[in-house]
C-alpha cells in the first residue's frame, strides 16, 4: 500500500506536525516523521482538517442530470474538501424506495470522489401523506439513517409524529424542512422591509419557527431525535436553544449563505439570490453565527442546490430556488466564523465534519486526526484570498451568489481513505 507523508501541517490549526498515511489509514502523527517510502506533500503551514461531511446536498441524479450528476456533484464535493455527502431525496424518481437509494449509493462508490450517503424520503413522493418504506431503505445496501422530504415540509403533525417514532427502531433521524405551507403560499423572499418595497411575496420567519416549535415538542413527546434543516432565523435559534436546555434531542444546521448574505441583495432582483429558506436580515445572520459558535446550531450544511443557467437567467418569480455551495462552503465559514474569532479550526472541524458525521451515522468520517483513524483528510491554504470564479467549478451548475466576491481560504488537497481526490487544487 502507498504511503503519503503530509509534512508541516497545522492539524486543526495547531502547531505544525507531520501526518503519515499508510494505505487507507493514518499511521502516525508527530514531528520529524520519516519520509522513507512515502510520497511527500509539503503542507507549509496549511491547516489539516478531517474530511468535511455535508448533511445536505442535492446531487440531482436521477432525473435532473442537466444540473448535476453524482459524478459532477462528488467532484465538486472533493474540490470543496468534502469526503462524504448526504444526497437529498427530491430526485426524479424520488428516493423513496430501496431501489433508488441503492442506485445513488452505488454511483457514489463507483466514482470514488466522495462517499455518497443517500437520504430517504419520509413520505411517498414527498407528498406528505403516506410514510415511505423507511425500514426497507435502512436495510438496503445504502443503509439509510437520515430521512427528509427536503424541499417540502412534513407539515401534517400526525405523519411527522409517526415518522419520528418509527425511525427509532433503527436509530434513524428525520431532517425537517421547516416551512408552514399555508403561511408561505406564493412566497418569494423574506417577509420584511425589503419585500414590502420590492412587492415580492413574503416568506415570514414565523412559518419556519412555528414548525420547529411543534417538532421539538413532538420529538420530546415521543422521545425521538429530530434534525432541523437550514435554520435561518433568530427566532428559530431561540426555540432550538430552549429545546436543548430541556434535553430534547434536537440538532440543527445552518447554510454558509445564511451566515453571510442578507435579503438586501434581493434588491437586484437577481435570482442567484433566490433560495429556500430565503436570505434573512442582518440580525438573523448575527444570531446564526453566534448560535453556531455556542453549539445551539450543531453543524454547517451546504444545501448545495444546482440549477441550470436558464432557471436563473430570468425574472425573479420564474426562477428556481437554490444555490450551489460545496465549493465555497469552507471559505464562507472561514470568513464568517474564523476570521471573526467565533470559531477556531478545531471548532470548524467539529461543525463541518465530526458532528454532521455523528448526526448522520457516517461511519469512518468526522474522526480525529490521529493514528489508526481512516485517512479522510482535507488540507486548507487559509492564507489564500481570491475572487470566486464559477467558471472553475467542478459542479455542472454555476448558480453561486459569490461570483466575483473575494473570499479567504482554498482547499488544496483532499484524501478519501488515503486516496487523493484533490491535489494542489486539481481533481485527480
Amino acid at each position: 500500500m502507498s504511503k503519503i507523508l503530509i509534512r508541516g501541517a497545522k492539524v486543526l490549526g495547531g502547531e505544525p506536525q507531520d501526518v503519515l498515511i499508510d494505505g487507507e489509514t493514518i499511521a502516525e502523527v508527530g514531528t520529524g516523521l520519516s519520509a522513507e517510502g512515502a510520497e511527500v506533500v509539503e503542507a507549509g503551514g496549511k491547516v489539516l482538517l478531517p474530511g468535511l461531511v455535508d448533511l445536505h446536498t442535492h446531487l440531482r441524479e436521477p432525473g435532473r442530470e442537466d444540473s448535476e450528476t453524482v459524478l459532477t456533484g462528488t467532484r465538486a464535493a472533493a474540490s470543496g474538501g468534502y469526503t462524504a455527502v448526504f444526497a437529498m431525496a427530491n430526485t426524479f424518481p424520488v428516493a423513496d424506495t430501496a431501489g433508488v437509494v441503492e442506485q445513488v449509493y452505488r454511483l457514489g462508490r463507483e466514482h470514488g470522489y466522495c462517499d455518497v450517503q443517500p437520504i430517504g424520503a419520509v413520505t411517498v413522493g414527498l407528498e406528505g401523506r403516506k410514510l415511505a418504506e423507511l425500514g426497507a431503505m435502512h436495510e438496503s445496501a445504502a443503509g439509510v439513517t437520515v430521512f427528509s422530504d427536503d424541499g417540502k415540509c412534513v407539515d401534517d403533525a400526525v405523519i411527522m409524529r409517526r415518522a419520528l417514532e418509527y425511525v427509532k427502531a433503527f436509530g434513524g433521524v428525520v431532517a425537517q424542512h421547516a416551512q408552514e405551507p399555508r403561511l408561505t403560499e406564493g412566497a418569494q423572499m423574506n417577509e420584511g422591509v425589503v419585500s414590502a418595497e420590492l412587492g415580492l411575496g413574503g416568506w415570514p420567519a414565523v412559518a419556519e419557527e412555528s414548525i420547529i416549535a411543534r417538532d421539538v415538542l413532538l420529538a420530546e413527546h415521543v422521545g425521538s431525535r429530530v434534525h432541523i434543516c437550514h435554520l435561518s432565523t433568530a427566532g428559530s435559534v431561540e426555540i432550538v436553544r430552549w429545546a436543548k436546555s430541556r434535553g430534547i434531542q434536537v440538532t440543527a444546521e445552518v447554510t454558509p449563505h445564511h451566515l453571510l448574505l442578507t435579503d438586501e441583495l434581493v434588491r437586484t432582483y437577481n435570482p442567484v439570490y433566490k433560495v429556500n429558506p430565503p436570505l434573512r436580515t442582518e440580525r438573523d445572520v448575527h444570531a446564526l453565527r453566534e448560535a453556531l459558535a455556542d453549539g445551539t446550531i450543531d453543524i454547517v450544511a451546504t444545501d448545495h442546490a444546482p440549477h441550470p443557467h436558464e432557471d436563473k437567467d430570468c425574472e425573479w418569480a420564474a426562477a428556481a430556488m437554490g444555490m450551489v455551495g460545496l465549493e465555497t462552503a469552507l471559505s464562507v465559514v472561514q470568513e464568517t466564523m474564523v476570521e471573526t474569532g467565533l470559531l477556531d479550526w478545531a471548532g470548524v472541524a467539529d461543525r463541518m465534519s465530526a458532528r454532521p458525521a455523528q448526526i448522520g451515522r457516517a461511519t469512518g468520517h468526522g474522526r480525529p486526526v490521529s493514528a489508526g483513524e481512516p485517512a479522510n483528510l482535507t488540507l486548507v491554504d487559509t492564507a489564500y484570498r481570491g475572487q470566486v470564479d464559477p467558471a472553475g467549478f467542478a459542479s455542472r451548475s454555476r448558480n453561486t451568489p459569490y461570483q466575483g466576491r473575494e473570499l479567504p481560504g482554498r482547499v488544496t488537497h483532499t484524501w478519501l481513505r488515503g486516496k487523493a481526490t484533490l491535489v494542489d487544487g486539481k481533481l485527480t
Binding site: 418569494q188 417577509e191 420584511g192 422591509v193 425589503v194 419585500s195 414590502a196 418595497e197 420590492l198 412587492g199 415580492l200 413574503g202 415570514p204 437586484t268 432582483y269 437577481n270 436558464e310 437567467d313 430570468c314 425574472e315 425573479w316 418569480a317 420564474a318
Partner: protein, 326 residues
C-alpha cells in the same frame, strides 16, 4: 433623467418636476386640431404586455403615436411566450428588430428591472406596471392631476406638492400604484397616509416614508386628495376581510364620507373602479372625482416620459428647429 424608468423611487424631485412640467407642454398638443408632434419620428417603441391591461396599453400607444413613433404592440397571449419562450428571448427577439424603447407590463415584480439591468438588451425600458412592485407613470399622472387641481395649471409649473396631505385607501399590500405613489409623493414633498385594514398593509411598511392608519373617517377630514384603490373581490376568499359589505362599510367612500372631506379636496382612482365596493356611484360620478381627468393626464405624462427618455434635450415644442427633425 436616467436611461430607464423602472421605479418612482429612482426619480429626484427635479426629475419629477421636469416630467410634470413637460407633460403640461404635451397637454397643449391635445388642444390642437392636429394632436401630433414629430419628435420621435423614426423611433420604434414596443409595448410589451405580459399582463392584460387595456387602459395602460392604450394610453401608452396614444402617447407614442402623438410623438410620431412607430409602435409595435406585443401581448403575451397567443405569442411565443405562451409556448414557453423566456422573457430574455422575447426581449432579444424584439430588439433584433430594431426597437429603441420597450414599454413593459409584467406580472412578476422586478421583471422590468431585470430587463434593464441584465445586459439582455440595450433599449430604454419603461415600466408600465410590474407585479406588486411599481407603476411609475401612474404615480406621475396622479401627481400631475394633484398639482393641477391643488396648485394650479400655470401656478403649478416648476412646483412640487409640498405640504399637501394625500390619503391612499385600500389594498396597499397588492398595489404597485400605492408603492409608486408613496415614493413619488414623498419626493415631491407631500404627506402621505395609507388607510387599509391591517391585513392589506405589508409587513415592513414601517420603513416607508408615510403614515399608516386603520381609520378612514379620522383621516378624511385632513386630506387634500383621497385616492381609492381597487379592491379585488377575490381577496375576500383569502380572508383579508370578512365580507364585501364589511369592507365597504369600513373602508369604502360614499357620499356621506365624501362630505366630511375639506371642500377643495379631490377623489382619485387609478381605475378600473369596482363601484359599490371601494367607491359608490355617487362619488365616482361627482365633480370631485378625477378619474376621467387622470386618464387624459396619463397620455400627457407618458408623452413626457418617452420624450425625455428618447428625445434628447431639445424643448419638446420647438420641433421644427431641432437638428434631427430637419
Amino acid at each position: 433623467m436616467q436611461r430607464h424608468l423602472i421605479s418612482a423611487a429612482d426619480l429626484t424631485r427635479d426629475d419629477a418636476v421636469l416630467i410634470l412640467d413637460t407633460a403640461e407642454e404635451m397637454a397643449r398638443v391635445a388642444d390642437r386640431p392636429i394632436k401630433k408632434l414629430p419628435t420621435l419620428r423614426g423611433r420604434t417603441i414596443v409595448n410589451l404586455f405580459f399582463e392584460d391591461s387595456t387602459r395602460t396599453r392604450i394610453s401608452f400607444e396614444a402617447a407614442e403615436k402623438r410623438l410620431s413613433a412607430d409602435v409595435i404592440n406585443f401581448s403575451a397571449k397567443g405569442s411565443s411566450v405562451s409556448k414557453g419562450e423566456s422573457l430574455k428571448d422575447t426581449a432579444q427577439t424584439l430588439e433584433a428588430m430594431g426597437v429603441d424603447a420597450v414599454v413593459i407590463r409584467h406580472g412578476a415584480s422586478g421583471a422590468p428591472y431585470r430587463l434593464a439591468n441584465s445586459g439582455w438588451i440595450d433599449a430604454a425600458v419603461v415600466n408600465a406596471g410590474d407585479g406588486t412592485h411599481q407603476h411609475p407613470t401612474q404615480a406621475l399622472l396622479d401627481a400631475f392631476t394633484m398639482r393641477r387641481r391643488l396648485v394650479g395649471r400655470d401656478a403649478g409649473l416648476g412646483q412640487d406638492l409640498s405640504g399637501k396631505r394625500i390619503t391612499i385607501v385600500g389594498d396597499v399590500l397588492h398595489s404597485r400604484v400605492a408603492r409608486s405613489n408613496v415614493d413619488l409623493l414623498h419626493t415631491l414633498g407631500a404627506e402621505v397616509t395609507l388607510v387599509a385594514p391591517p391585513t392589506l398593509v405589508p409587513v415592513g411598511v414601517g420603513s416607508w416614508p408615510c403614515e399608516v392608519s386603520y381609520d378612514l373617517d379620522s383621516t378624511l377630514v385632513k386630506s387634500d386628495a383621497v385616492m381609492m384603490l381597487r379592491v379585488q373581490r377575490e381577496r375576500m376568499n383569502a380572508a383579508f376581510f370578512p365580507t364585501e359589505r364589511e369592507y365597504s362599510r369600513r373602508y369604502g367612500l360614499d357620499g356621506e364620507r365624501m362630505a366630511k372631506m375639506p371642500e377643495h379636496a379631490i377623489v382619485m382612482h387609478p381605475g378600473p373602479m369596482v363601484r359599490g365596493m371601494e367607491i359608490t356611484a355617487e362619488v365616482a360620478d361627482s365633480d370631485r372625482c378625477t378619474v376621467v381627468e387622470q386618464v387624459a393626464n396619463g397620455v400627457s405624462i407618458r408623452m413626457a416620459v418617452l420624450y425625455l427618455l428618447l428625445g434628447g434635450n431639445e424643448p419638446a415644442l420647438t420641433h421644427a428647429r431641432t437638428p434631427e427633425e430637419k
